[in-house]
Amino acid sequence: MKDETPRADPTAAAGEPAAAPAGKARPLWPHLIGLPGLTAVAVLSAMVLPIPLAVILALFIASLAAWSAAALASRIRASEQQRCSLDAQLVQSQKLAAIGEMSAGIAHEINNPMAIIAQESDWMTHLMAAPQITPENMAELRDSLAEIVRQVDRCKAITHNLLNFSRKMEPILQQEHLEKIMEDMVLLVEKEAKLQGVTIGRDYDPDLAPIETDVPLLRQVVLNLLLNAFQAIPGQGEITVSTRPVGANRVAIAVADTGVGILPENMSKLFNPFFTTKPPGVGTGLGLSMCHGIVDRLGGAITVESEEGKGSRFTVTLPR
């Protein structure tokens, strides 16, 4: 699998700046209590003190307020950066988990033929240790050898399939309108949704130029998000799909629902393989992790906002 050439993806994960070193938790009270207190002092002093003195005091406190605002802004920025890097770490650890899982599968697949090969070659060594090889033993040797060849072929088929798999993983980029990519999947879900009182609203940006992406892969993501949205709505409700430009060279699609929302404690596990809140048999827990994998390969990112009881909104940003 060494010939896997990375295509169009590194920009996404590497885009975020590295995390600022975690600062010591500086106290918040100077901003929350100190400054309002000082402001009150300034107001009170304006009533008692002569005006020039009060003005000087007010200016001083105003500059303190400006400093406080700047300090708070920089802290917000730092914590956002930290969050971004945590997201990146999460993606990385998921990748590692997926690799771990896959290698366990491969090991299992290849171990079986290996065991047979070991057994047969053991038997052959045993037969050939005899001083004379009888015609019967010769026939057995031939049998064993044939079996070994068969098992080697089996291994070859496994690695061959793996190579094909890794090749298939590479996206094929085509120009297509986002709206066109989404609409077939929306229609597919809409009919079933309507029967259950769920309407689908469309909010496509009509001026959005076609983008370059892997069309069937993106359709899979859209269908998955739509299905999740539909399943999150217990009774009647609404799903809204939308497309938007994001800056000059990215676009975003969003699938929003008015469903049950996501519990805060589940937010971090959402994209983990095999994580599901659906009853057994309904969800495999692979949908969102698959979406995440696809979007990652397309050089994009997937984010979620959710409010418990009000609904969720999944946004996929992609390069144009």
Binding site: N164, L173, Q174, D184, E192, P216, R219, L223
Partner: protein
């Protein structure tokens, strides 16, 4: 360059219209009444794009799609369905269908999809050749 199209549906009327419309546009088209017949045809000659109904007696569209993608991964398949089943749509798309479209389909739109699917096949072939 012409696109070699295979239409698979158990409904003779649908096949007849399809063949008529593609032929009118001078596009070579072959028809098969079932999944098994389609696989047999694919064995004998190669096609670029397969347009296939999901619900067919015998081997259904999803099973046939699976078989086609296994044997001829580069052939693109557009699935058509009369009733919207999200589940089978998910299965179809994850098995490698190019698109999963609710019937009735506007012919011009279908044509556009066929062109796009063919373009994808050419891109895929170009990449495999450069390896």
């Amino acid at each position: 360059m012409s696109i070699r199209i295979l239409v698979v549906d158990d409904e003779p009327d649908f096949i007849e219209t399809m063949v008529k419309r593609f032929t009118f546009r001078k596009m070579p088209v072959t028809a098969a009444p079932s999944g098994i017949a389609a696989l047999k045809l694919l064995e004998a000659e190669s096609f670029d794009v397969v347009i296939m109904d999901v619900r067919m007696p015998g081997k259904d569209g999803i099973e046939t799609l699976k078989e086609i993608k296994k044997r001829y991964p580069l052939t693109e398949v557009i699935m058509l369905t009369g009733h919207a089943s999200v589940e089978s749509g998910m299965r179809g798309m994850s098995l490698g269908a190019y698109d999963y479209v609710l019937k009735p389909v506007d012919f011009d739109e279908l044509l556009e999809k066929v062109r796009k699917a063919h373009e994808r096949k050419l891109l895929n072939e170009g990449r495999n050749a450069s390896r």
